[in-house]
């Protein structure tokens, strides 16, 4: 009933999707501070979601389910940058402020600043006893 080529392709997409999703989740646990964890979550939100929903779309064939999966994919792709931006901006208004943000208008010296792990660890510790 399902074309074997499509079945193999969808299996491949699902497997790749699982791999990227697991890498994202491991990154979520392994990365040292909030902002880097956000990048790891970004991996699970973009390519992994695309691959898994794409694999399901290949299984669905021409039906209403295909359109609905397309809508889900489109919706996740439109909302995930909004959600992560809102999250980053909210963190920016807290103790997790990026060092660069303090030097508002003077960026002539050296624009790239390595973020200081101790500072963030300190902020994390601050948060830990507050939460």
């Amino acid at each position: 009933m399902i074309d074997p080529v499509l079945a193999v392709l969808s299996g491949l997409a699902l497997a790749l999707g699982c791999f990227f999703m697991l890498s994202g989740a491991v990154g979520l646990l392994r990365f040292p501070d909030f902002y880097t964890r956000m990048h790891a979550a970004g991996v699970t939100d973009t390519l992994a979601t695309f691959l898994i929903v794409g694999g399901l779309m290949l299984l669905a064939g021409w039906s209403l389910a295909l359109l609905k999966l397309g809508l889900i994919l489109l919706f996740i792709f439109f909302t995930s940058p909004t959600a992560s931006h809102a999250l980053a901006r909210a963190a920016q208004h807290s103790e997790l402020r990026l060092p660069e943000a303090d030097r508002q208008r003077e960026r002539e010296a050296e624009p790239v600043v390595e973020s200081e792990p101790e500072r963030i660890a300190e902020a994390d510790a601050l948060n830990a006893d507050r939460v």
Binding site: A15, A25, D45, I72
Partner: protein
């Protein structure tokens, strides 16, 4: 493959829960909750294919909407907290 995907999704959700429990900041927890939510959407979609019932996709769609709105709502609540305590600065 669908079963394997389902197991992988459950593992990812468990890892997100571990991050949510470890924290350490509120924002890490919200991030983990967001990841958990989007994975739930995918899990519902995969389940509806294993059961062969395409109607369940509607639930996935609605869950995606609710997840987004709830994350934004929670962030509105936490955004303007000062460093010292739970006092809202403005807005």
């Amino acid at each position: 493959m669908l079963t394997a995907t389902m197991i992988a999704l459950l593992v990812v959700m468990a890892l997100a829960l571990v991050r949510a429990l470890l924290g350490p900041s509120v924002y890490d927890r919200v991030l983990a909750a967001n990841v958990f939510g989007t994975k739930t959407v995918l899990l519902i979609a995969v389940i509806c294919f294993t059961l062969g019932r395409p109607e369940y996709l509607d639930i996935a769609l609605v869950y995606a909407l609710i997840n987004f709105v709830s994350v934004i709502g929670v962030l509105r609540y936490f955004e303007f907290r000062s460093a010292q305590g739970g006092e809202a600065l403005n807005d």
